[in-house]
Amino acid sequence: MFSVECSRLRFLIVDDNNHMRRIIRALLHGFGVREAYEAEDGAAGLEAFTSYSPDIVITDWAMPIFDGLELTRMIRQPETSTNPYVPIIMVTGHAERRRITEARDAGVTEFLVKPISAKALYQRIVSVVMVPRPFIKTATYFGPCRRRTPNPNFGGFERRGKGVSEKIDPIRIGDGMRHDR
């Protein structure tokens, strides 16, 4: 079997509610995480993201200053972000479909509706580590591929898989990305 050694991963928790941050931190420690940093709003979260280069970001949606969606959009800037490919897990009380779509379109990797549980959070962590999705860059979007599964009913023109492949140095996509740890 495989297991994810969370002790080898660095986390950033961004949530304006200190109780929720303590709950998430307790769960992460239970998973074996040793390095978890905290920020209490999107602005502080962005600063901490740049300072600590976390491997996984866990963020709330609703926060003062700027919220989890805005934080996600800032991180998913291939030209300026220190790691635009970082997995972002959004933990939120919003459960409506339109909210999930909005988060997905901002570049969130995984979405977790509260109440939070150890198993649900662990599943999201395993998912982003074990089954990372490719990234898509278009004129209006940069983020994880939004197609989770093939749509058997799709009858339109398939745009993917007809282009030219190459291997490139990641420095051309976003200068300063951390791939060296």
């Binding site: 297991s3 307790a26 491997d55 490719p134 993917r160 492949s165 140095d169 791939h179």
Partner: protein, 187 residues
Amino acid sequence: MPRLIKKMAPAMKVEHGSDHTVIHPHNALRARAVVMHDGPHGLDETAIRRAEIALQGLSANFNGWMEEACRTLVVAHQATKTAERTKNSATTFHRAAHDIRGHGTTLGFPLATRVAASLCLLLENLPEAIANSDAVSTLVDQHVDAIRAITREGVIQSTHRVGETLATELEAITERLVARFSGQTVH
């Protein structure tokens, strides 16, 4: 330093389409954090159990945290009723309700989560003219009072008879109201 990173950074596969690019970043996390060992595939139940125990270790605080969240809600609600009511006070009140919707169940108060979810539905979906009416204002008060009562009485069971009836009634009234007025322009 950028030169050093460039030298060490593994290549990534990139596919160019007519109007998009597909990028397969190097999976550094998998290489670093995944460990294979004997046994069947599946989630690491031991890690999950450890996390559940860690969460349980915090549970002595949960009543106090819920009371704090409830106080924050009540204060924010009062601020929306003053003459200086601002958009900011409305946002703070909504955030306090949203927090209880999110945390109530984790803190052991599932009925508070239900009532807070109903309150959020009310705050998020009505046109301003309807939201400011006396009837809606009374309904908002009733939601806040219900959350206070659930917290004060320590109603932790989702099957608590009075609490469950209260939550169900508030949800039903809210859903009817929202179904009737949401998205409509009020003249």
